[in-house]
Amino acid sequence: MTESTELLEKFEELLEVTKLCYQCGTCAGGCPVFRQYPNFNPRRVMEKLLMKDFSEQIFDDQQIWYCSMCYTCSVRCPQGIDVGHVITEIKNLAVQMKNAPPGIVAELETIMETGVTAAISKGIMKRREQLELPELPPPNLDEIQKIFEVTGAEKYIKQIKEETS
């Protein structure tokens, strides 16, 4: 299967799942992000999918990354749509279309290079010493980097950085 047919197949799957949505807005009502930042509205995301309306560039838009992944929408949807999962799928598709916020790309790069998400500073190592904590066995970075290579994540990171530079 070529990359573009796989993308198309995923996209059709998403539209199929969304069909059940009758735009009641329960997802938006429970969304903790929407309360603070009304530009991110899960009901609107579903609406755009339903109407196949991509004029507002659902996949090019950074708004989708505002989702905090709390799954409140998924738990409450009266139609049983896993809205949070739909949003994750949209993010995945956006990445394949070379779109992700710099903060997310930086996180992926940190994991690829160090195996962990947090920066391991001298200050934190001193704190670990003060607390008499044991040394942690280091992760195998060759394996981590190989996985980034074979899944395509390394390529996506490069593509997005080229696109935005």
Partner: protein, 290 residues
Amino acid sequence: MSKFAFFIGCTIPYRIPFVETSIRKTFPEFGIELMDLPFACCPDPGGVQGFDSITWYTLAARNLCLAEEVNLNIITACSGCFETLKVSNTKLKNDTRLKDKVNEHLNEVGREFKGTIEVKHFAEVLYDEVGIDKIAAKVQKPLTGVRLATHTGCHFVKPPEILQTDNPESPHRLDEMVEALGAQAVPYLNKLMCCGAGTRGVDQDTAIAMAHEKIMGAERAKADALVTICPTCFVQYDVGQRLMAKQFDKTKLPVFVYPELLGISMGMDFTTGLKMHTIKVTPILEKITG
């Protein structure tokens, strides 16, 4: 004695290591042995899953393989790690197509996901395997008169059909666990609300405003402190209050991760670690020790 592969994650050891101390000191008291393994990032259920789901499953499966090799169930110290590892473990066990795809990638690093172990959150182990009665029996300095706002957080309970830990719309386990220590779990506005950490990668101000709503809810309920079972939520609420002060009126609500309060009530001395909190916890310590 039950033995677990200890999945410490990234946030605890490299941002708030005092939480690691509290877990390493308290858990053996309940007959739980923790074994360190060379785990990498779980990886993050928000950023990495959002970026590329297959990479997320494959990196998670690699961690699961390490525990499978020593034939130990995993105990996670972090709710994000719990979600990533339990969701991956469950889906890989039940979805052959996904498992084949992931194993194809894992084969490149000489590994194979087999599906022979289970993943548990530390709070789940305390509640289900240790039990409220045994927790209560260990208390030497009860937290009498301490009013606590409990924050169960999202990734311990959702998605519920897979995680199966507590009621996502009305969680009660953490309330029972703090009451076992002699404290009072107070009802408060926005108890179910997400800490906002997931939004931090794209907009810090919105993420902090979300955390602020929770702190306000706890303050209005006259809580002495907020207690979580997730290190990421802890960072949002503890370090977060310093950032909140740039947008809102200053607050100074002490924040704890449950094993800290557990250890304190068991009579352990966590002074060195407690001084590393951003928001001073001395007022509540004075209330406990008198």
